[in-house]
């Protein structure tokens, strides 16, 4: 928007843009493989949209480069800033917990994994005392079970 040039570059933003550019190039390659360059085929739109992805990312990178010249943190200093602002301990731990949780659902059953997940989360995030956490977890799951499986006959994972 209007403040395109305003504001400074976030720590790590430049590298995220670079990764996105790489991803876009891979997608462009895959899209080209669907049906080559044709005016009306299954691959036309994927090719067009991935081309737009590449172009828009190039534009974004250009403006980030300009901002980078203005002087931002580099190297290990930038990494440290990224860890502090984006990958904070809470986020890393919690994202891992969430991923483990959805992977565990397939092996065990929905109810026990969710129960452990909610209880552990509340304890870790200091939402409440451990005992209350267990009660809240059980209550939440009980209502989810009643609403989904009992009233709507929706299967739980």
């Amino acid at each position: 928007m209007s403040h395109e040039q305003a504001g400074t570059l976030r720590a790590g933003e430049y590298y995220f843009d670079l990764i996105m550019l790489l991803v876009s190039l891979v997608v462009l390659f895959l899209a080209y493989q669907i049906s080559g360059f044709q005016l009306c085929a299954a691959g036309t739109f994927p090719l067009a949209s991935s081309a737009v992805m590449v172009l828009s990312m190039l534009l974004s990178l250009r403006s980030s480069r300009i901002k980078r010249r203005a002087g931002t943190a580099r190297g290990s200093e930038e990494l440290k800033l990224v860890m502090e602002s984006v990958f904070t301990r809470d986020v890393l731990v919690y994202a891992c917990l969430a991923v483990l949780y959805i992977l565990a659902i397939d092996l065990l059953h929905f109810l026990p994994t969710s129960f452990v997940f909610i209880a552990l989360s509340i304890i870790y995030l200091k939402g409440s005392t451990p005992i209350k956490a267990i009660v809240i977890s059980a209550g939440t799951l009980f209502s989810i079970y009643m609403i989904f499986q009992y009233f709507f006959q929706v299967l739980l994972p």
């Binding site: 109810l111 129960f115 452990v116 209550g139 009980f142 299967l155």
Partner: protein
């Protein structure tokens, strides 16, 4: 088979016991949920079915398959004495649902409610499965296909349409669908027999196709009669032919058979989609028998017959060997037809499908 069920359930229960020990303060309500959950799975181990069944519908809510499936289920439930929980699992023209049911337990608690599509997965390279991998519990009904045209078109018969197409090749727009859909297959059939050259415009199904016909965005379309009958009755579209060797009468409007001017269609007709219920092949024999009996009785109910009639479909109500023979014939006719029209990725011969 009952043992199997217990074995799959117990470890979960014991696991929970351990959790309970660890955490000491499991809430009562949670236990109630858990116990009731385990209960529904194991209690009353004598005689199938002892808990509710799951019906997987291979197409989305609101489609033709969804309609037939949801109409038959309530007719069968009282006979089985159990509920059939119907779930839509659309995607990949039903390949995802087919795969899902195939990888479920062979206990007869998961049924596949589907249409003709899996018979074409092989030649279209969508999936390795077909109805050969399932037991046909009941083929409920088959649909009829009519070729309908926009009222603004000058044709009064299929012959006039074909002649017109021959005069201006590639100019007439035919409503179609993606590969495997009814309009697509019949379009290929017409191309094979009459050799006409039209421009197919694929839509998402019969419904969107007939909508485009009403709006004049395509000139004609071969569709399921159930999607077109009310529009024919109201005189909003004209029916040129029915894909059958016998004529069709829709409230006094006589639709000639497709073989009238083109006897070449004779070896393919009657052709149409079909709907049915399948379970895995290795479900215990007694469970299969119960399912077959229940669906036979349910499909014979007045309510379901009326429904099929209102959908302009033809009731079949066949199972077992009779159904398998029907499925084989359908697959052989259709795959070879598509193969001859150059629309397959894999030859039916490579899949061991005999020529019709």
């Amino acid at each position: 088979m009952c043992e199997e069920v217990k074995f799959t359930v117990r470890p979960i229960f014991y696991d929970e016991e351990r959790v309970k020990e660890m955490l000491k303060k499991l809430s009562v309500s949670f236990l109630v949920v858990l116990v009731s959950c385990v209960f529904t799975m194991t209690v009353n181990a004598a005689g199938y079915p002892e808990r509710s069944l799951q019906g997987i519908i291979m197409w989305g809510a609101g489609g033709g398959t969804d309609g037939v499936s949801r109409a038959i289920a309530p007719n069968v439930e009282p006979i089985l004495g159990q509920q059939i929980v119907m779930v839509n699992k659309p995607g990949g023209t039903g390949a995802i649902a087919t795969q899902f049911v195939h990888s479920s337990n062979s206990d007869g608690y998961t049924l596949l409610f589907g249409a003709e599509n899996p018979q074409l997965y092989g030649v279209l390279e969508l999936s390795k499965l077909s109805y050969d991998d399932f037991y046909p519990v009941n083929i409920l009904a088959r649909g009829q296909v009519v070729i309908v045209a926009n009222n603004d078109m000058p044709w009064k018969s299929l012959k006039e349409l074909v002649d017109d197409a021959q005069k201006r090749p590639g100019k007439i727009k035919m409503g179609s669908t993606g590969p495997g859909g009814v309009p697509y297959v019949v379009g290929k059939l017409m191309q094979t027999v009459t050799g006409f050259d039209v421009a197919p415009v694929p839509f998402d199904g019969d419904g969107p196709g007939i909508t485009a016909l009403l709006g004049g965005h395509v000139d004609f379309i071969p569709v399921n009669l159930s999607a077109a009958s009310e529009h024919i009755r109201a005189g909003r579209v004209k029916a040129l032919a029915v894909v059958d060797s016998k004529e069709l009468n829709i409230s006094g409007t006589v639709v000639p058979p497709i073989t009238k001017d083109y006897p070449g269609f004779g070896k393919y007709v009657p052709w149409g989609p079909f709907f049915g219920v399948w379970c895995k092949k290795d479900v215990p024999q007694e469970a299969i028998q119960k399912l077959v009996d229940a669906f036979k009785k349910g499909a014979d109910s007045e309510r379901f017959k009326e429904f099929i009639a209102s959908k302009e479909a033809i009731q079949m109500n066949i199972s077992g060997d009779e159904a398998t023979a029907f499925l084989k014939k359908w697959q052989s006719v259709t795959t070879w037809l598509l193969h001859d029209a150059g629309a397959t990725k894999v030859s039916p011969a490579d899949l061991g499908i005999p020529k019709p």
